[in-house]
């Protein structure tokens, strides 16, 4: 058993303006990953402004005081780099991996949009990216069967007013109502150096990176009063199951069964991570063995379980199955619930536990096998737990989970407040 999930050096520095700079040197390949985590996500959005954090992420690629519109992408790709950004309920991350000689360019670009976005932001840019995001919503959520499952699960799991109640993509109505002043204020409020972590992994030394970070980011002023998101840690139990059935144009019945568990990073969530793997990862998992093989009521490629790694409130555990032809939604839902419930009553065997831990180990090392995977992980641990070095603890924590702990966690979280979302094809009605 490894005593560390992170056998590379980690150096952490805080600039005078509060920007944390994390560096992990690795000379294996002539490439560097540059990654910024901003501690702002859709959990910060008030009612009427859903989707704003994500739409804002798009605006960050549209130019800043010293970078013309469309130039950001062109400069990174023209340097041979890969780049992207994502927004989720917890945070927004921006990242590029470039050949090592272009490290300084990447830092300059990130500093310019951290410190100089607002003067470059125009109504035309906002209108264009609003249309792009609305098309993203159509493409990913509206135009594909079951595409809106996540949008439906969140309000069933989290009550109105909870920071995870609404989905990151937001509503069309709110997106339509977005005005320029709101986005200018959004940047001034949250895109401050003391609300961000800059991580660089790869072919660069810590001294070199810190000096460059100070050169490019050092003059950006901190913001003293960054508002926090509503606290979502305590979610009162309702004591009643929540069920929703959607009859629509889908090719087969599908059931999602979901629970709130524990926040990502807590010991309880480590147990849930192993539990989810026992339950729903691979052909040796309980769901596959029982529903896809065994009873043969579920389609083999579409059965599974996973935790959604959210850190600021009890994170969801989701199990799902899609019916084989001739199997109805009710039978599928009953079969799925039975296997999930048995986690509390049928002890996990040593073989099941070893299988889950082996799969998790490989998944962990796969994430660590690239500089960009490592950079994003360090940024997460620095942002969410205050110390990037805690990254080393996650894999050992998974490997230390016992069968008893899984049974206890199952008894505690799988008994309460179950959410069941069922899709049924129109012709079945």
């Amino acid at each position: 058993m490894p005593d560390s999930g992170y056998p590379w050096p980690i150096s952490t520095t805080r600039l005078d303006n509060g920007l944390r700079v994390v560096v992990s040197e690795d000379r294996t390949a002539p490439a560097v990953a540059v990654n910024l985590w901003y501690d702002v996500g859709s959990r910060h959005e008030p009612a009427g402004q859903t989707g704003f954090a994500h739409l804002f992420e798009h605006l960050m690629f549209e130019g800043s005081v010293n970078v013309a519109k469309t130039e950001h992408m062109k400069l990174v790709q023209g340097a041979g780099g890969s780049l992207n950004a994502t927004t989720n309920p917890d945070r927004t991350n921006y990242f590029e991996t470039v050949p090592a000689e272009h490290l300084e360019l990447a830092l300059w670009l990130e500093a310019d949009r951290m410190g100089g976005l607002v003067p470059a932001l125009t109504q035309e840019t906002l209108d264009n990216q609003r249309d792009v995001v609305k098309n993203e919503r159509r493409q990913r959520y509206e135009n594909v069967p079951y595409g809106d499952a996540w949008l439906r699960l969140l309000p069933l799991l989290y009550p109105p007013g909870h920071p995870y109640h609404h989905a990151t993509i937001g509503s069309m109505a709110d997106l339509n109502a977005a005005d320029l002043a709101t986005f200018q204020a959004f940047h001034q409020t949250y895109y401050a150096p003391n609300n961000a972590v800059l991580t660089v992994v790869g072919d660069a030394t810590a001294d070199e990176v810190v000096a460059l970070a100070d050169k490019y980011f050092g003059a950006i002023p901190p913001r003293p009063d960054i508002p926090s998101a509503p606290d979502g840690r305590m979610v009162p139990a309702t004591g009643v199951p929540a069920e929703e059935t959607v009859v629509t144009d889908v090719p087969a019945p599908r059931v999602y069964l979901a629970h709130r568990t524990y926040p990502f990073g807590s010991p309880g969530y480590d147990v849930v991570t192993v539990l989810a793997t026992v339950l729903g990862s691979g052909r040796g998992s309980r769901l596959y063995q029982r529903l896809a093989d065994g009873e043969r009521i579920a389609q083999p490629d579409l059965v599974g379980a996973y935790g959604v790694d959210l850190a600021h409130a009890p994170a969801p555990l989701i199990a799902t199955a899609t019916a084989r032809p001739g199997v109805g939604g009710e039978r599928l839902a009953a079969g799925l619930a039975e296997v999930v419930d048995e986690l509390a009553t049928v002890p996990v065997t040593a073989a099941e536990l070893d299988r889950a831990k082996a799969l998790l180990s490989t998944a962990w090392w796969r994430q660590m096998s690239t500089v960009d995977g490592r950079a994003d992980t360090l940024g997460r641990y620095a942002t969410q737990f205050g110390d990037p070095a805690t990254v080393a603890e996650r894999l050992p924590a998974w490997l230390a989970v016992t069968a008893d702990q899984i049974a206890e966690a199952a008894a505690e979280v799988l008994a309460a407040d179950r959410v069941t979302l069922t899709y049924l094809p129109e012709e079945d009605q």
């Binding site: 005081v65 098309n135 052909r283 043969r296 090392w365």
Partner: protein, 448 residues
């Protein structure tokens, strides 16, 4: 506040090196490996000449069904025991199929690679293929394809492919088959395909820390019991262009977006223009900064994204553009996309655009080829296309050396905007009349 206004230039370029490649002949098969010192994870991949191109016409999807059937038990153990054994090592059996190859691979911590390759070989060489299991897997695969085909895209892809290459040819039908072709397969199709193509030795590709890997032992395991030699892989296929442009409309009632698939035949992989063709494709549609994405997404806001590229296998290739656009702007998006392709064909590329494209493609070699999985993929390219060990280094040089004249010539020669097939999958009742008005070509309704 003082931001630094001047954009920094690059530091000293650091040398790019593809990992050291080791090739061996062992136990009747070939081994191609890359040394990744210090890497904890390793990948082993068995590459067989059993791609979709080997499937008989009318039997599309055979390789996919066989791939799934491999895990339904072996001569040694049943399906459950097999799943538990391989997953206890931390890997699943990952299978993949393209026109040229069938691939089965494992990814594990390096000390478990030997055990994982034993299980890989056990499934590929000695699957049980019990008739009841094969029939069930076939039905599951047909169902899985029906699920997939409920999404926008697969029907449009199939219509485009059939129109470019001819539905009477295997390469004019979907690579993974369609729900009907898979449902019509029988047990004997699967067992015959296995005995014909899955017991030839093939090539074992390994990416990992070779100081901790015994390649000869892995190869002996992978090739044990294999027999039969290589089979002629066939010459490149001449695919004629259409005389004119046409629009084929695939109805998807209620669709909030229209799915665009625009394309024409293009050169096979070994064509001497491969590098300039790839760069022309990159400038036109291959990157976020490409002409198509700039115009259709960043200027017009019609889409979340639009991509276009040249793709090629050993025997044929195609140019294709794909996107999903809001229903209401289907016709203008199509007109503008075709216009941009025509402009690129007629006017070529600029030095500014090409500078981005060539550095991006060259830089991607050092940026993207990091993980054992990515390196194994690069090694398969060497094997499938008979390329030398220093191919990636040479490719980098060729990309960086390509000039505007070469790439513009490739665009002029290999783009055919007047012969394109424009497949639109969307709500026909809402978009048909507008498509007719564009006069881009005759509008044909696809038969369901």
């Amino acid at each position: 506040m003082t931001l630094i206004a001047d954009r920094p230039g690059p530091g000293a370029a650091r040398p790019y090196r593809f990992p050291q490649v080791v090739r061996r002949s062992v136990a009747g098969g070939q081994v191609v490996a890359a040394h990744l010192p210090g890497q904890n994870l390793a990948v082993a991949l068995l590459l067989l000449d059993a791609g979709a191109g080997r499937e008989p016409v009318g039997k599309e999807g055979l390789g996919g069904v066989l791939a799934k059937a491999l895990e339904e038990g072996t001569a040694r153990r049943d399906a459950t025991a097999y799943a538990l054994a391989i997953e206890a090592l931390g890997t699943e059996l990952v299978t993949a199929l393209d026109w040229d190859t069938f691939q089965a691979s494992v990814q594990v911590p390096v000390d478990r690679l030997g055990a994982a390759v034993e299980l890989l070989a056990e499934a590929v060489r000695t699957p049980r293929l019990d008739p009841d299991d094969v029939r069930r897997v076939r039905d599951d695969e047909a169902t899985a394809l029906r699920m997939d085909w409920a999404n926008p895209g697969p029907r449009a892809d199939a219509v485009l492919r059939a129109d470019l290459f001819g539905v009477d040819n295997r390469w004019g039908r979907p690579m993974y088959g369609d729900p009907a072709s898979v449902a019509a397969l029988d047990v004997e199709d699967v067992t015959v395909f296995h005995s014909e193509w899955f017991i030839r030795p093939g090539t074992l590709v390994v990416a990992g820390d070779l100081d901790r890997i015994d390649l000869d032992a892995l190869a002996a395991t992978a090739f044990a019991g294999a027999g039969g030699g290589p089979v002629d892989r066939g010459a490149p296929i001449e695919v004629p262009l259409h005389a004119g442009r046409r629009i084929i409309l695939v109805d998807r009632p209620g669709s909030v977006q229209s799915t665009l698939r625009l394309g024409h035949p293009a050169p096979h992989r070994a064509h001497p223009d491969h590098v300039p063709i790839a760069l022309a494709g990159t400038v036109l549609g291959g990157a976020f900064t490409s002409r198509l994405n700039h115009l259709i997404r960043e200027v017009r806001g019609y889409t979340y994204g639009i991509r276009g590229d040249f793709a090629s296998s050993r025997r044929f290739g195609r140019f294709a553009v794909s996107s999903g656009v809001q229903t209401a702007v289907t016709a203008p998006a199509l007109v503008e996309a075709v216009g941009e392709i025509a402009r690129t064909q007629a006017g070529g590329v600029t030095e500014d655009e090409l500078a981005v494209a060539r550095s991006w493609r060259a830089g991607q070699l050092s940026v993207e080829l990091q993980s054992p999985r990515a390196i194994a993929g690069a090694l398969t390219t060497l094997v499938v296309h008979d390329l030398p060990d220093d191919y990636h280094a040479r490719l980098r040089e060729a990309l960086l050396a390509a000039d505007v004249a070469q790439v513009s010539a490739a665009a002029a020669t290999h783009l055919h905007p007047e012969s394109m097939t424009l497949v639109i999958e969307g709500d026909a009742a809402l978009i048909r009349d507008e498509l007719v008005v564009t006069e881009l070509g005759e509008v044909i309704d696809a038969t369901p």
